[in-house]
C-alpha cells in the first residue's frame, strides 16, 4: 500500500529499496532510549494512578480510589485554576510583547544584532537561579524597592496571594519573552519583501502593513510560539518551587507543583500520578487544538519559521 502511494516519486524511493534494511536500524538507539524513559513512564503514570504507594512500602492495586480522592479534592480545581491563570496571563502578556520586539529586532541595523545577543542572556539562566535572584530583588526589607526607597516597589511581593501570582507571571515573561522574540524575529525575516514593496506602492502605512501583511504571515510562528508557551507553562515547576513553593497558602500551587507535593511531600504517589495523567491529557489536548487551528500537516516542522 505504502509502496504504491510512494511510487509517485520513484527516484526518491529507489535508494531506500536497497538501503531500507539499514535505515531502520539507525533509528533504533534513539527509539530505545525514548521508549525506555519516556513511553514506558507515560504508560506507568497511568497504571500507577490506579494504585496506592507511599514510596516506601509495597505498591497496592486500589482501583479508582486515588482518582476518587483527587477528583473530590477541592485542591484540584484550585490547581487547575492557578495553572490556567498563569498560562493565560503569561500568554496574553508575552505574545504581543514578543511580536513587537521580534518585528523591531528584525530590522537590519547592526545594533539590533547586539540587542539580540543581550536578549538571549535570560535563556542561559536556570529557573532556579532566576527565582533566587527575584526572591532577593523583591525582598520587602532588603530588596530593590527598599534600597532605592521607592514605595511602589516595596511591597510584600511574595506574601500577598494576588501579588505572588503576578510576580510568577512577570518572572515567567522575563525568562521567556527573549526566546519568543527571537522566534518572531526569524519569522518576520522570512516574510517575502515583495509583499511590503507592493503594499508600499499602494500607499499602505506602517500600521496597515503590520496588520495586513506581517501579522497574517506570522500565523505559523504565532501557533508555534503559543504551543511552546502553553504546553510549557503546564509544567512550570522549578520557578514556582524555588520562588514561592506554591504559596502564600496555595495561591501559586499550579498542577506540576501539586503533583510534586502530593507525591514527594505527602507520599501519595497514586494521587500524584492522577495529576500526572491529567497534565498529560491537558497538554496533548491543547497541542492538538493548536495544531488544528494551524491546519497544517503534522509532519511539517513545528519550528518552521523559528
Amino acid at each position: 500500500m505504502s509502496a504504491t502511494t510512494a511510487g509517485r516519486t520513484p527516484s526518491a524511493v529507489a535508494p531506500e529499496a536497497r538501503g531500507g534494511g539499514v535505515l531502520p536500524w539507525l533509528a533504533l538507539p534513539a527509539l530505545l532510549a525514548f521508549v525506555a524513559f519516556a513511553v514506558l513512564p507515560l504508560i506507568g503514570v497511568l497504571l500507577l494512578s490506579f494504585t496506592s504507594w507511599d514510596t516506601l512500602g509495597q505498591i497496592k492495586l486500589t482501583g479508582l480510589e486515588s482518582w476518587r480522592s483527587v477528583l473530590t479534592d477541592p485542591g484540584l480545581p484550585h490547581a487547575l485554576w492557578v495553572t490556567f491563570l498563569i498560562t493565560a496571563l503569561s500568554w496574553a502578556f508575552q505574545t504581543p510583547a514578543s511580536i513587537l520586539i521580534g518585528v523591531f529586532l528584525a530590522g537590519r541595523q547592526r545594533y539590533r544584532e547586539l540587542l539580540a545577543v543581550l536578549y538571549f542572556i535570560p535563556l542561559l539562566l536556570s529557573s532556579a537561579a532566576i527565582a533566587i535572584t527575584y526572591k532577593a530583588l523583591l525582598d520587602p526589607n532588603f530588596g530593590l524597592g527598599a534600597g532605592l526607597h521607592i514605595d511602589l516597589l516595596t511591597q510584600d511581593w511574595l506574601g500577598e496571594p494576588g501579588l505572588a501570582l503576578g510576580v510568577v507571571v512577570f518572572v515567567v515573561s522575563w525568562q521567556f519573552i527573549p526566546f519568543h522574540s527571537l522566534l518572531y524575529q526569524g519569522g518576520v525575516r522570512q516574510v517575502p519583501r515583495s509583499l511590503y514593496e507592493a503594499a508600499e506602492l499602494d500607499g499602505a502605512g506602517r500600521v496597515r502593513m503590520f496588520f495586513s501583511i506581517t501579522l497574517p504571515q506570522l500565523k505559523y510562528t504565532i501557533i508555534t510560539s503559543s504551543t511552546l508557551m502553553i504546553v510549557g507553562s503546564l509544567t512550570f515547576f522549578d520557578l514556582i518551587f524555588v520562588l514561592t513553593e506554591g504559596g502564600p497558602g496555595d495561591a501559586t500551587r499550579a498542577l506540576a507543583l501539586d503533583m510534586y507535593k502530593r507525591g514527594f511531600q505527602a507520599n501519595l504517589m497514586g494521587a500524584a500520578c492522577v495529576i500526572g495523567v491529567i497534565l498529560v491529557l491537558v497538554g496533548l489536548a491543547l497541542a492538538l487544538l493548536l495544531r488544528r487551528l494551524g491546519g497544517r500537516d503534522p509532519n511539517a516542522s513545528q519550528l518552521e519559521g523559528a
Binding site: A6, A38, L100, S126, W174, A256, N299, S301
Partner: protein
C-alpha cells in the same frame, strides 16, 4: 533554531537582489517596537547587572549602599566563599551529567533524523518512529517523573549521576530529531546520489556527508540540550538525595535555603558562577555557528 540558518540565507539573497539599494526594509522608524524593544532590554539587563555588581559587594555594603550603584571597593570574597563550599563538586556533577546527556542524545538523534529523512516517508516503521517523536514534543514529559523515580530505584540508580543521565537523554531526543531532520532535509539530493554512485554505504554517507554538512545544526542542538540539562531542576530534585550528588541548580536552591542564605552577595556570586560556563558555550557556539554557515556558502 532553523532561523539562523534560513534567515541568514534569505538575508544574503535579499542583499543580492536588492542591488545597490541599501536593504533597510520599511523606511519609517518603528516607534512602538523600538520603545518596547529598548524598554524590555532594560527590564532584562537591570537584574543581570544587579546580580553582577551585588556579587562584588560585602554583606554590609549590600545593606547600606544604593542597590544599583557598583561597589566602590569590589571584593571577590563572595566567590572565594562559594568556591570553598563544595561548588567545584556540584560544578563537576553538572558537567558530567551535561556531557553524558548531550553526546548520546545528539548522536542517537542524528542517526534517527538521518534515517527518517532518507526513507522519505516510505518505510512504515520509520514513519511510526517519526510520529512517536512528534507526539513526544506535545506531551509534558515532566508529568512522568513518578514512574521514572520508580524505575530508577528499581534499576538501583537512585542517587547516582547515571540515573539523571538516562531520562535526560530520552527527554532530549524528540526536539533534537525534529531540528536535525529539518537540516538534513536541506542537504542537496544530488550529494546523496553521488555518494551512492561512489559505492558509499548509508553509514558512511551519514558520517562523511550529512554530519559535516549539518554541523551548525549539530552545534545548535548540542548547545540547546546542554543548556536544558545544565539548568534542569526537577530530575535532580527527585532522583538524588546526597549533597555530594547535587547539580548546580539544586545546590543554588539549597544554598539560599541554608545557613548562608542571608548572605545575598554570596548567593548571587554562586548564581554568576553557574551561568559562566553557559555564557562561554554560547559565545563559542555562536561563532562556530557562523563559521559553519560561511563555510557552506563560501565554496
Amino acid at each position: 533554531m532553523t532561523a539562523t540558518h534560513t534567515s541568514a540565507g534569505a538575508e544574503r539573497a535579499a542583499a543580492r537582489t536588492s542591488g545597490r539599494r541599501p536593504a533597510s526594509a520599511p523606511q519609517r522608524p518603528n516607534w512602538l517596537g523600538g520603545l518596547v524593544g529598548w524598554l524590555w532590554l532594560a527590564v532584562v539587563i537591570i537584574p543581570i547587572y544587579w546580580i553582577v555588581i551585588t556579587s562584588l559587594k560585602t554583606q554590609t555594603n549590600y545593606y547600606l549602599t544604593n542597590p544599583l550603584l557598583p561597589p566602590i571597593d569590589p571584593t571577590l570574597d563572595n566567590y572565594r566563599l562559594v568556591l570553598q563550599l563544595d561548588f567545584p563538586l556540584y560544578f563537576l556533577n553538572s558537567l558530567l551529567v551535561a556531557v553524558g546527556t548531550v553526546i548520546p542524545s545528539v548522536l542517537f538523534a542524528f542517526m534517527a533524523a538521518y534515517a527518517i529523512v532518507r526513507s522519505g516517508g516510505a518505510g512504515r516503521f520509520l514513519r511510526a518512529v517519526n510520529g512517536l517523536f512528534l507526539m513526544g514534543l506535545a506531551i509534558p514529559l515532566q508529568a512522568t517523573v513518578i514512574p521514572i523515580y520508580l524505575m530508577i530505584i528499581k534499576l538501583h540508580l537512585y542517587d547516582s549521576l547515571l540515573g539523571l543521565i538516562l531520562p535526560s537523554v530520552a527527554f532530549a531526543i524528540p526536539l533534537s530529531v525534529l531540528v536535525l531532520a529539518n537540516f538534513i532535509r536541506d542537504v542537496p539530493k544530488e550529494l546523496f546520489e553521488s555518494m551512492r554512485l561512489d559505492g558509499a554505504t548509508e553509514w558512511m554517507t551519514l558520517w562523511r556527508l550529512a554530519f559535516p554538512l549539518t554541523r551548525p545544526a549539530v552545534v545548535t542542538v548540542s548547545i540547546y540540550n546542554a543548556l536544558t540539562v545544565w539548568n534542569g531542576f526537577l530530575l535532580p530534585l527527585i532522583l538524588t538525595q546526597s549533597p555530594d550528588k547535587r547539580t548546580l541548580p539544586l545546590a543554588l536552591a539549597a544554598f539560599q535555603g541554608g545557613p548562608y542564605g542571608v548572605n545575598v552577595p554570596a548567593v548571587l556570586a554562586s548564581v554568576v558562577l553557574t551561568i559562566l560556563p553557559m555564557l562561554v558555550l554560547y559565545t563559542v557556539g555562536r561563532r562556530q555557528l557562523l563559521s559553519g554557515l560561511t563555510a557552506g556558502f563560501g565554496k
